[in-house]
């Protein structure tokens, strides 16, 4: 649907170099990278705010590389929302509709339905400059979607919100996407990427590093840069079912393994846990940890303060171990070991 071919742009010392990717209709596409990676510039190039030096943009098989901004039908929600401060909420939402020639009761109906959908009906008469960050964002979304854009571009939409509002907005965005809206979402937060993206593109230093599903990216990072950026090595697709205890869930992995995790409700998503939360022993652990498995050491990587040990328990688990422990337990590749970790150390990231 949207295809980006060899897009390059030089801005001062920064170079966005030869970016190519394509986004399918109805897809939720995440661009993940640290700040300064060139994510926002790429969005601005797609929207037409910035002209690329080189390359080609195609939307629905039409070359839009040099099309004026207003004729692209690509909606962009700016990171600072860009709400028009001299208009009230109603007129902000009505802005694109008036441009389409809507007026009178048709305009009113459309504004009311958008306001309802984004939960800003009670703010319609309010001056835009008096809104909170979360409210501004909802108004910005309602206003942009009034255009019925082919592609919705979001620049760090969750970064300005507190955790409660984040959960709300995430489900709102997921709902929009489920209704067929193609979304390209820029973020520096891997959790957002996992929770929302069908596919994730990793960017750094103006270059595209890897494109793939969250599972591909997190389980098979194409470079150490990505592994460091995403920061999690123990990362598995899982579906939750209830256990005997309230809020304690069984996470079923594709390999048949079951981990115990704490979560509010059943569903599917990813479980992750840090490599320093896993305990390693030679005999079955006596601790209260709910998750214990036996396996074999398949790899050992020396690190600054010890080793990173990879234990195969049908899936590969990364464990951080000190030099002393390695010597004391006489660990080497091929050793049979037990690993254990607490259910409370496992994070569940819901995607449904």
């Amino acid at each position: 649907m949207l295809s980006i071919e060899n897009i390059s742009k030089k801005l001062g010392a920064f170079l966005l170099s030869s970016i190519s990717l394509s986004v399918n209709r109805g897809e939720y596409f995440i661009i993940l990278g640290p700040s300064g990676a060139g994510k926002s510039i790429l969005l601005e190039i797609i929207a037409g705010l910035v002209q690329p030096d080189d390359g080609k943009l195609t939307l629905n098989s039409k070359d839009i590389t040099t099309s004026p901004i207003q004729l692209r039908n690509i909606g962009l929600v700016f990171q600072d929302f860009a709400i028009f401060p001299h208009l009230n909420v109603r007129n902000n939402i009505a802005y694109p509709l008036k441009g389409k020639g809507l007026s009178g009761s048709a305009l009113n109906r459309e504004v009311l339905s958008l306001a309802k959908k984004f939960g800003v009906s009670h703010l319609l008469k309010q001056n835009a400059s008096t809104l909170s960050g979360g409210e501004q964002q909802r108004v910005a979304l309602a206003r942009t979607l009034a255009l019925k854009p082919d592609v919705l571009l979001l620049d760090e939409p969750l970064s300005a919100l507190d955790s409660e509002r984040r959960v709300e907005l995430r489900s709102l965005l997921r709902g929009l996407n489920r209704d067929g809206q193609t979304i390209i979402h820029v973020t520096h937060d891997y959790e957002e990427a996992i929770a929302l993206g069908h596919r994730v593109a990793i960017m750094s230093g103006g270059k595209l590093e890897q494109v793939g599903t969250p599972e591909q990216i997190f389980n098979k990072p194409a470079s150490t840069f990505i592994a460091n950026l995403v920061g999690v090595k123990n990362f598995f697709l899982a579906s939750l079912t209830e256990s005997n205890e309230v809020n304690l869930m069984k996470a079923h992995l594709a390999s048949g393994l079951i981990f115990y995790v704490y979560a509010d409700a059943c569903g599917s998503g990813y479980i992750t846990f840090p490599d320093n939360s896993v305990t390693l022993s030679l005999t079955p652990p006596q601790s209260s940890a709910l998750n214990s498995f036996s396996g074999e050491i398949v790899d050992m990587y020396p690190q600054r303060y010890g080793y990173e040990i990879v234990v195969n328990i049908k899936v590969k688990i990364f464990v951080n171990v000190t030099h002393e422990s390695v010597l004391k337990l006489n660990l080497k590749i091929g050793s049979r070991v037990w690993i254990s970790l607490k259910a409370s150390n496992i994070q569940f990231i819901r995607v449904d």
Partner: protein
């Protein structure tokens, strides 16, 4: 409250300067009796000249704002060759002697010029007409509007304009609905300054049109023909009128609380 020596020096110097501005005006007002003012205020010649001054200055401001505001926008938003030279040109009327500006304009509209000839064929003489006064007023006062509007447009965040385009607005609609309203306060302040400056113009106006007599020319005429005593009441009244209009516009353009 104790002040440092430095603060005291600042206060004394500032006070002297303010006195320098206020004292002559105040002195003139005090030395003019209310009887003189009343008599002058009903003179037909005086009222006529005030009216002529106000409507010509108003018309000049309005007409010239139509190209001046887009030019200000262009200077605020676009980068192009010779931009610095154009910026300098705009400030030129402020730095050249206004009598010289008047002479230049007179050459431009006299019967020998192209414009003067065209007007002549149509039966008009531009020299000594309200048209001449208007262009003399506009010539010396237009920089105030362009510069104020330009800084107003510069303060409008460009991303709001880009957001408007992204929402499907044409560049014209974006300008009229986003840039212009958001820069409006600066523009109004520029319009008020241009209007006030135009009303008070003497040097350029007297060269292109002694008649119809605008207020500054009338003040000069009274002084020249009858002396200080007869010029003062007109001057005081005109200052009063100018100040009232100035304050009125400021109040109208200040934001609603």
């Amino acid at each position: 409250m104790r002040h440092s020596a430095f603060t005291l020096i600042l206060i004394v110097l500032s006070g002297l300067l303010l006195l320098f501005i206020v004292a002559p005006l105040l002195g003139m007002m005090i030395s003019t009796s209310s009887e003189q003012l009343l008599q002058t205020a009903v003179e037909k010649e005086v009222l006529n000249s005030f009216w002529v001054t106000i409507w010509i200055a108003f018309t000049a401001t309005f007409v010239f704002s139509i190209p001046a505001i887009p030019l200000a926008y262009l200077l605020a938003r676009k980068n192009f060759k010779f931009k610095k030279i154009i910026t300098g040109l705009i400030d030129l009327p402020v730095v050249i002697p206004h009598s010289a500006a008047g002479i230049a304009l007179l050459g431009f509209i006299s019967r020998d010029s192209v414009i003067g000839k065209v007007a002549g064929y149509m039966g008009f003489n531009l020299v000594g007409s309200p048209f001449a006064i208007a262009i003399a007023m506009a010539f010396v006062s237009i920089p105030f509007l362009i510069n104020a509007a330009r800084s107003g447009f510069e303060l409008v965040p460009e991303r709001l304009e880009k957001a408007a385009l992204n929402l499907g607005a044409s560049p014209t609609r974006m300008f009229l609905t986003i840039s212009l309203p958001l820069a409006w306060r600066s523009i109004v302040s520029g319009l008020v300054m241009m209007f006030a400056r135009g009303m008070s113009e003497f040097g350029a106006v007297i060269i292109v049109a002694y008649h119809p007599m605008v207020a500054p020319v009338l003040i000069f005429d009274r002084f020249n023909s009858y002396g200080l005593k007869y010029a003062q009441p007109v001057a005081v009244l005109f200052i009063g009128v100018s100040l009232s209009i100035f304050i009125l516009f400021r109040l109208l353009s200040s934001p609603k609380k």
